[in-house]
């Protein structure tokens, strides 16, 4: 067995096991961590296909940001495990049906696309006109070239849809509490010490008035005598 094949089987078996544990883990935090493991192994498989940009972006976006926020939310939830598992048998037929359907569809795609045929060689989609302009050695460059030339409009459109979704999500969840104790930072930053504090000049020692008086009267007396 070739070393690459061995790595592929190792990564995919861990991936499948981790994915299985995502749905079977009793604790949702463990489930999220298994999902992280699954992402890592998927990224490893993409690296084997020398799709390094996709592989590293998967880790960066999903593991580094999305799953952190997942974990953030899941850890804060107060989850009743008994109630969570209650409906398992009731929902099983629907879940199984969807699962089988998905597996069938994937099988159809794989059988139709690559059945008996070799994968198209990398860079086969480069049109003759562009081939002279860019000679890409890496997957990153290749992806960028395709995204910003052949699929520029679709790419911009997708970016725009994402932007709208982001703004919508923010505006849906943004509500101000009535008991808000918001402090305007710019006011705080702009505050100068003259506004809040006055410096008073005074001598270090303050003479006690009563003592001074008696001393003075005493002096007068002595002076008088």
């Amino acid at each position: 067995m070739e070393f690459k094949t061995f790595v592929f089987y190792l990564l995919s078996s861990i991936l499948v096991l981790a994915a299985l544990r995502v749905v079977t883990a009793r604790n949702p935090v463990h489930a999220v961590l298994y999902l992280v493991l699954a992402f890592f192994n998927a990224s490893g498989i993409w690296l084997l296909l020398s799709a390094e940009f996709l592989a590293i972006t998967l880790v960066m976006v999903y593991v580094g940001a999305v799953m952190v926020l997942f974990l953030f939310v899941v850890m804060m939830l107060d989850i009743d495990f008994a109630r969570l598992r209650e409906g398992f048998w009731r929902y099983l037929p629907v879940g199984a049906f969807v699962g089988v359907l998905l597996a069938l569809e994937m099988g159809l795609v794989l059988a139709g696309g690559f059945g008996g045929k070799a994968m198209p060689p990398a860079g086969a989609t480069v049109s003759a006109a562009d081939a002279g302009l860019f000679k890409c050695a890496s997957n990153t460059c290749e992806l960028g070239r395709v995204l910003y030339t052949d699929y520029a409009y679709a790419f911009e459109l997708a970016a725009f849809v994402l932007l709208i979704a982001m703004v919508a999500a923010v505006s849906l969840t943004l509500r101000r509490r009535r008991t808000d104790k918001y402090i305007a930072p710019e006011v705080q930053v702009a505050a100068r010490h003259e506004d809040r504090m006055t410096l008073v000049k005074m001598s270090v020692e303050k003479e006690a008035p009563s003592v001074v008086e008696t001393a003075e009267t005493g002096a007068e007396k002595t002076g008088g005598q």
């Binding site: 940009f53 050695a137 990153t140």
Partner: protein
Amino acid sequence: MDAILQPFADFFGPTWPVVWSLVKIVVLLAPLMVCVAYLTLAERKIIGFMQLRVGPNRVGPFGLLQPIADALKLLFKEVIIPSGASKGLFILGPILAIAPSLTAWAVVPFDDRAAVADVNAGLLFLLAITSIEVYGVIIAGWASNSKYAFLGAMRAAAQMVSYEVALGLALICVLMISRSLNLTDIVTSQQPVRLAGFGVGFLSWNWLPLLPLFVVYLISGIAETNRAPFDVVEGEAEIVAGHMVEFSGMAFALFFLAEYANMILVSTMTSLLFLGGWLSPVGFLPDGFHWLALKTAFILFVFLWARATFPRFRYDQIMRLGWKVFIPITLAWVVVVTVWMMSPLSIWK
């Protein structure tokens, strides 16, 4: 070099690539761990001098053996696992904290083409690896089953994810002007072209055209490593020591090592991306690794200096700085650099 290595390659046969990689990793990590150890001493000494104290001076001459004494002490301490903790994850936390901070060094070049793995997408790899550093903190905080630890984990998650955005956007400009994701290429692209004859190499480094991003990157780097003044994750005064509160002995030491290894990593990255890496600042001196070491040491000094100078930020101020100041600045500078590159005034052609 190849001639010297040939007998070893013959001896190990097909396992030679693995052995050779392991040798390279040891050669990289052993000095790194020494640097980490002595960075802790340097920190205590420098902050000591800044605060008119002497710092550690009892173990060895000038306290030079202090880090070794500390390491020995921590090694011999018991690792206590709280009874309510999630045991597997409690152990996994510190491991996940230190693993990424050491893994990231795989793609860092120390001289021309001198990296353990000189890969094409080196910068992307670094971004990805540094983005998973937060897991160690979160897992440790959750697995400890303690409120203080959990609060620390929540703070870490929010802070590190926020500052990663600014960090990533700053890097986008760097890779735009150097047209490469390979770290060696990014450094060599900073070599003087226009001012080649004048011997002022330091003016052609990225810090000058990308000055706002250099500042943003440095400050975000401090925030990303959870160092003062952004160390609300530990916040001794509020949440004792955050995610580390339940850890003892070597488990605690791993968090400590990870923090200092990350500091060195961020400093090295700043030197590579903005300060020309191993390139010499003036024409009459040769390039070399010592320049990278000097620049990294300077940035590390800035880290310690900042810690001794500024009081800790309040949590909402940290979030405001990240989201409302740094991200708009970096976004605007991406546009500025794009227009600049496409205009006739471009200096990167």
